[in-house]
């Protein structure tokens, strides 16, 4: 009697463990799904367009009669907006992290941190509205010839949007630096600034690098802000004052129209998506290598 019950109980335990394992495996399935769909549809795309054309042609006009499939204009748009965003987010995010963990009082930190987190909770379409209808008119006062759609204002807003990603991960890394390193530095007569710059930031560098990589991933993948504020015209330029289309904005533009399933126009968005995924992957691998190299163990 007892043995049957214990066998049932054992069986149930195994069954539950199996169900939980399946749930945990779902993340692997999602990854396979993402890579599978992108590669499958892109493969069909690359049957029509050679990879060399895709990477070197300077025009992106897939929906015109005279179709050109050069990703460079979209890539330039993505890189320019990302670069602007990072010139905002990396200095401000790092300084904020150092300030919050080394300078601010406990109370200030407890109040400021949740408010900073709200910056990343604001829906991106709201940021797009803000970039197009608030920041651009403001910038036009300084630069009267700035067009209504431009990469500058989109990039700046993305930068502010990703400050919390950079600052909160950096701050965690900075706070993980052992107290005795700080005390040693202070005992030598260093100021807080000297301690921060020469002791703490180098010690926390691998974590700070991870924060930067996260920021870069966010900036590359950001969609709605650029779709709203940077315009939706492919434009091969490195000038941030001009309107241009990013990879993500192109995907949105095509999705808003009604492209039939299976056409080459439909496949272009998957090729664009694959490019996007490869870019974030490259940055993440670079970040991983950096973290390995600069890891400090205490």
């Amino acid at each position: 009697m007892a043995s049957t019950r214990s066998r049932i109980r054992h069986l149930r335990e195994r069954l539950i463990e199996l169900i939980l394992l399946l749930a945990a495996s779902s993340s692997v399935v999602i990854t396979l799904g993402i890579v599978g769909v992108l590669v499958y549809e892109s493969a069909a795309f690359f049957e029509h367009v050679s990879i060399v054309d895709f990477l070197t042609d300077t025009q992106w006009t897939p929906l015109f009669d005279d179709a050109h499939y050069g990703i460079l204009p979209l890539l330039a748009g993505t890189l320019v907006t990302t670069a602007i965003a990072l010139t905002v987010a990396i200095p401000i995010g790092t300084i904020t992290a150092i300030y919050l963990s080394e300078y601010a009082s406990h109370r200030t930190r407890e109040i400021i941190k949740p408010v900073m987190e709200l910056l990343s909770a604001v829906p991106t379409v709201v940021y797009g509205y803000f970039a197009l209808l608030f920041l651009t008119p403001l910038l036009q006062i300084l630069m009267p010839e700035l067009p209504g759609f431009n990469m500058l204002s989109a990039g700046l807003v993305i930068g502010i949007m990703i400050i919390p990603y950079v600052s909160s991960v950096s701050e965690d890394a900075i706070r993980a630096v052992p107290m005795h390193l700080r005390e040693g530095s202070y005992a030598m007569g260093a100021t807080r600034l000297q301690t921060s710059v020469r002791v703490i930031v180098p010690a926390a560098f691998s974590g700070i690098a991870a924060a930067y990589i996260l920021g870069i991933s966010r900036a590359i993948g950001e969609t709605m802000v650029v779709a709203i504020a940077a315009g939706m015209q492919p434009n091969f330029t490195w000038d941030p004052r001009e309107p241009a289309e990013t990879i993500t904005a192109y995907i949105v533009q095509v999705s808003l129209g009604d492209l039939p399933h299976g056409t080459i126009g439909y496949q272009t968005i998957f090729a664009a998506g694959l490019t996007l995924l490869v870019m974030t992957l490259v940055f993440n691998i670079a970040g991983y290598v950096l973290r390995k190299r600069f890891r400090e163990v205490y």
Partner: protein
Amino acid sequence: MEDIKRLIAKHKFYDGIFAVVGLIGLFVGLVTLTALILDLAVDGVPRLSWQFFTEFPSRFADQAGILSAWVGTTLVMIVTASAAVPLGVAAGVYLEEYAPKNWFTVLIEINIANLAAVPSIVYGLMALGLFVYQFGFGQSILTAGLTLALLILPMVIIATRESIRSIPSPIREASYALGATKWQTVRDHVLPYSTGGILTGVIIALSRAIGESAPLITIGALTFIAFLPAPPLSAEPPFVSFQWLMDPFTVMPIQMFNWVSRPQAEFHLNAAAAGLVLLMMTLVMNGIAIYIRYRFRKRIKW
């Protein structure tokens, strides 16, 4: 001696400068947030009325409302939550309580970390290829809900794991000592004590999902919807209907995007009003999450 004094004074001065720079850095974020909310409020508040919530979108800016958008957002969130929460919590429990240390567990962990870095629009492309065409779900509420569920799954898993990890192991050992099985320990002790943390994580994840529009545009959400999905309850048998899962939809951020990308300034006012409603939704959800975290932290004392 004079030299040393000067050196100290110089470095103290630099230190002071950095303190000011740090404050300015903080203020950039705070000022932007304030400017953003004020900007939305100035343009949007005059448009907020009962009618704005009960009208469908329209060609005429002053008659347009967000009825189909907020209903769509609510339904999509129901699907998202019912898919992401069980799956994410189960995965989190497995990884914290059951997983052996082997290559497969490591693979899953690396995977979850990488998924969090994948741009949201890529999830939309995956859903377009898989859910819309391969599985034949179409451009429906079901597809949208599942897409957002996959998007927030890593967040739910990470929140669950952190919450479970904070439970001291004597709790588990006491349970095992009384003869409880692993599942009984998880069900009766681990999960109840970590509910607060999990709930906080889930609400924050959902507040992110509510503002997501890129993946939903990719799967082909319509921007102009002047009807509601089929009602889930009806007077005739079988009373409950799941037809709404397959209906086309729009959501709040897409409605706002539609209005903001029109050239007429009157529609921009509607966009501001919709943005204000959307912002309030996310802020209220974040507020609830912070409150729950606070309450649970106070109640449980180890």
